[in-house]
């Protein structure tokens, strides 16, 4: 059986890729996808931990797995709202470049 720490390391790598993506990408859609990557990294970590805690009783394991579904639902809801805002902006400006979205400054 592969140890839990390997899964956590993988999820940390995915989470970092997502973070770098959010900070470096210019297109709102790509930023969006990077955030999804971060959420999925959290899901992977949760499933791995749920397996690790299974020895402590079924409840802890179930908790972790149920949480994954809740987070999937949250991610889906975020996509719906986010794409809605994105479409509204695109209709008005015909671009999703974030650099063009910074008219306000200190």
């Amino acid at each position: 059986m592969i140890g839990t720490e390997y899964y956590i390391a993988l999820s940390a790598i995915i989470f970092s890729i997502g973070t770098v993506g959010v900070l470096s990408r210019r297109s709102a859609i790509m930023v969006f996808l990077s955030i999804e990557l971060m959420l999925n990294a959290a899901n992977l970590a949760m499933v791995a931990f749920a397996r690790a805690w299974a020895s402590e009783g079924a409840l802890a394991a179930m908790n972790g797995q149920a949480a994954v579904f809740i987070i999937l639902a949250i991610a889906a809801a975020e996509v719906a709202v986010g794409l809605g805002i994105l479409v509204a902006i695109f209709r008005y400006r015909e671009t999703t470049e974030l650099d063009l979205l910074s008219e306000m400054r200190l």
């Binding site: 959420l39 959290a42 931990f49 986010g82 809605g84 805002i85 974030l98």
Partner: protein, 483 residues
């Protein structure tokens, strides 16, 4: 075992039902004013349920879904603050939206849904309920921030708030995953028990979780270094939405932070507390320094909201003792004076929320003396002058910090609040003493006037008689409900 106690989440439920009902009604009869009135009634009903729960609080922990949804004294206190803030935001919106053709029917239902999410977040007895409440609240506010469809600033605000908010929740969710790895549970009480037990050996995951959760909630509460979005979003969003964000979202995020601090954050190795300490000190400094250089009043209030997040943070160190009581008091005062200030601004600004610079309010005292007096009361209170609500609030949080041995950060707080007096007083001086002959046209509005009058009276009353509201929320020691 299904443990559902309907009364416990009746406040949130009544807001959700009212939102659905007013959406249904407005399908047949497009009337935004009707949905505003339904929303106000719903807030009153929710407050009544909350009062009922509050009167029963001595009979033990009232909870639902097996300690995942609590109605204990902290939750009920924060609930009152959120409901007051929602009612004030609805009243500020009432005429504002119509004058600017923003009165689509979905506005008030979205505001109610967001408030219901805030109630869930405050009542959360575990991490999963917390994240659900946070998302219910945030998703509605993202849309509200981008409400003004043809305004680039509002769209930019919505997009920025959405992307950064989603980024922050990703951090929070990853932190929750790490915390689950460390303790094997999502429930605050179980987490607290696990972290303080002798055999706790997963300190690495717990520390990582603490940092990630601080980042996630730091964004929502607009604490340094995650505050940069706040001035932009607060400036770009329509005025009532800005008021709503700076009151409700901040209250809910702080309530969550208090529970997290009480259940495990303060039990972590001391450098976590030090990180929090530095964040709070810099929040106060950056917020107040930023406020100094603003000319737009709306943006100035945005920086003031950042600075007040720092002052509230001081109470976090006392989260296990008097902190929550102080925070409930501070937030009540903050919500009322902030709502008043935004209500005054919403009367002064033009159609596009512009014309709110210092020059534009010059001589307001001559043309509209009552309005100028009320605005001065709110600014004095925000600055923390004695005899106003803001002063007592600051005393309480400084006291909470000093009693717990955080003297230095409390001194930084006192110095920065003295500096802040400069920018809070500047509009008052301009209103009263600057000679101009510009004619200020304000847009009369009954509902907004009510908000201003009530807020001004309550700000003064709370400042003169601070004891009664404070005494109500005596917490004792038990912040984290133990099963």
């Amino acid at each position: 075992m299904i443990d559902i106690n309907w009364v416990v989440f009746a406040p949130a439920l009544s807001l959700i039902i009212a939102a659905s009902v007013s959406l249904l009604i407005t399908v047949f009869k497009k009337n935004t004013k009707l949905s505003a009135i339904i929303s106000l009634i719903a807030v009153a009903v929710a407050a009544a349920f909350n009062l009922q729960l509050f009167l029963n609080r001595a009979e033990g922990v009232q909870s639902s879904f097996g300690l995942e949804y609590l109605a204990d004294t902290p939750a009920l206190g924060f609930n009152f603050v959120i409901l007051i803030a929602t009612a004030l935001a609805i009243l500020i919106s009432y005429d504002y939206l119509e004058k600017r053709n923003l009165d689509q029917i979905e506005y008030y239902p979205l505001m109610l849904l967001s408030a219901s999410g805030a109630l869930v977040m405050v009542a959360a007895g575990g991490m999963i309920t917390l994240i659900l409440g946070l998302e219910i609240m945030s998703l509605a506010v993202y849309v509200l921030a981008a409400w003004k469809q043809d305004s680039p600033a509002s769209e930019e605000a919505g997009m920025k708030y959405f992307l950064l908010g989603a980024f922050a929740s990703a951090f929070l969710i990853y932190g929750i995953a790490m915390l689950f790895g460390a303790t094997g549970s999502f429930n605050y009480a179980a987490i607290a028990a696990s972290v303080s037990s002798d055999g706790f050996d997963k300190i690495f995951y717990a520390v990582l979780a603490s940092i990630l959760i601080l980042v996630g909630l730091g964004f929502k509460t607009a604490m340094f270094p995650f505050h940069q979005w706040a001035p932009d979003v607060y400036t770009g969003a329509p005025m009532p939405v800005t008021a709503f964000m700076s009151m409700v979202v901040k209250t809910a995020a702080f309530a969550a932070l208090f529970r997290i601090a009480a259940s495990f954050l303060l039990d972590m190795p001391s450098f976590i507390s030090q990180i929090l300490l530095i964040m709070i000190a810099l929040t106060m400094i950056v917020g107040n320094m930023g406020g100094l250089v603003q000319t737009s009043l709306k943006r100035m209030l945005a920086f003031s909201a950042v600075a007040h997040a720092g002052y509230l943070g001081l109470a976090l160190f006392a989260a296990k003792t008097v902190g929550i009581q102080a925070a409930v008091w501070y937030l009540t005062a903050y919500v009322i004076m902030n709502a008043g200030a935004f209500a005054v601004l919403s009367l002064i600004v033009d159609e596009n929320d512009q014309a709110d610079s210092l020059d534009d309010i010059a001589g307001l005292a001559k043309t509209h003396p009552a309005l100028a007096t009320a605005f001065s009361i709110f600014l004095f209170s925000l600055a923390g002058f004695p005899l106003f609500a803001g002063f007592i609030g600051k005393i309480l949080v400084f006291q909470a910090a000093i009693e717990n041995g955080y003297v230095l950060v409390a001194i930084i707080g006192i110095i920065t609040s003295l500096v802040a007096v400069v920018y809070y007083l500047r509009p008052v001086i301009v209103m009263y003493f600057k000679n101009t002959d510009n004619k200020i046209t304000i847009q009369p509005s009954m509902a907004t006037t009510i908000v201003i009058a009530v807020a001004a009276i309550v700000t003064v009353l709370l400042g003169i008689l601070p004891g009664w509201w404070y005494g109500l929320f005596e917490m004792g020691q038990r912040i984290v409900a133990a099963g």
